[in-house]
């Protein structure tokens, strides 16, 4: 039953991602993008990564969608029709994306580094969230700090970019 649920969610994720790509209106594209993120979160939860699914829904989907909607609202008076939001050269894009998918799948499935990492962090189903937190703050602490500095840098970068408003006005 769970396998069929996962297959159903994967099918839904693929179809909503394709709809996101094919939509000509940006608001419709954003809506289906939100659906895709939600469905991917359900996939995560279905395969046992509950923490990741919750993070995806609460932080990532919520934050990203709000940012996109704000950006659309801020630029709502622009005439989108002049942009011709249709697929330019779709066959080239589809071929390149499939080639990229093949290369990434090959790299991830044959990489010795990934295999070594996967064997070092095996799942203990009783307390996976505890294991993840412990690993984050012990083995991956430096990377966690780098990520926090990256977030800080992003805040400063955004403020610096949007500072130009006063100069223009």
């Amino acid at each position: 039953m769970l396998d069929w649920l996962i297959i159903f969610f994967c099918f839904l994720a693929i179809s909503s991602a394709v709809t996101t790509s094919m939509s000509s209106k940006i608001i419709r594209s954003t809506f289906f993008f939100g659906v895709t993120l939600f469905v991917i979160a359900f996939v995560f939860i279905s395969i046992g990564s509950t923490l990741l699914g919750v993070v995806q829904i609460l932080l990532y989907t919520g934050g990203t969608l709000v940012l996109f909607i704000f950006a659309i609202i801020l630029t709502a008076n622009w005439d989108y029709k002049n942009l011709g939001e249709t697929f330019n050269k779709p066959i080239r894009a589809i071929v390149i994306s499939f080639i990229f998918l093949g290369i990434m799948s090959y790299i991830v499935s044959t990489s010795p580094l990934m295999k070594e990492l996967a064997e070092n962090f095996t799942i203990n189903y009783s307390n996976t969230s505890k294991d993840i937190s412990k690993t984050l703050f012990e083995d991956w602490f430096v990377i966690l700090e780098v990520a926090s500095f990256l977030l800080l840098g992003t805040i400063v970068g955004c403020l610096t970019l949007l500072k130009y408003r006063k100069e223009i006005s």
């Binding site: 940006i26 993008f33 993120l37 990741l52 996109f68 950006a71 942009l83 977030l151 949007l162 223009i168």
Partner: protein, 80 residues
Amino acid sequence: MLLSKRHILSILIGIELFLNGINLMFITFAKSYSSYVADILILFILVITACEVAIGLAIFILNQRINKTIDISNLESLKD
């Protein structure tokens, strides 16, 4: 979407979908080894994605204010 559209928001959504695909690939691989390493990697990918969206949307709004357009082909003029 990355290759075929000119709207900056469409391109950002394309990058998001692309990174989510990589997330799914990581977690599929890790679950086949009964490992939770993908959970950690995906958390970091989510951080990078959030940063990319924030910076991308800031550039988008800046471009719209300065160049009065949402087309990506005019982004180069922001360097001036």
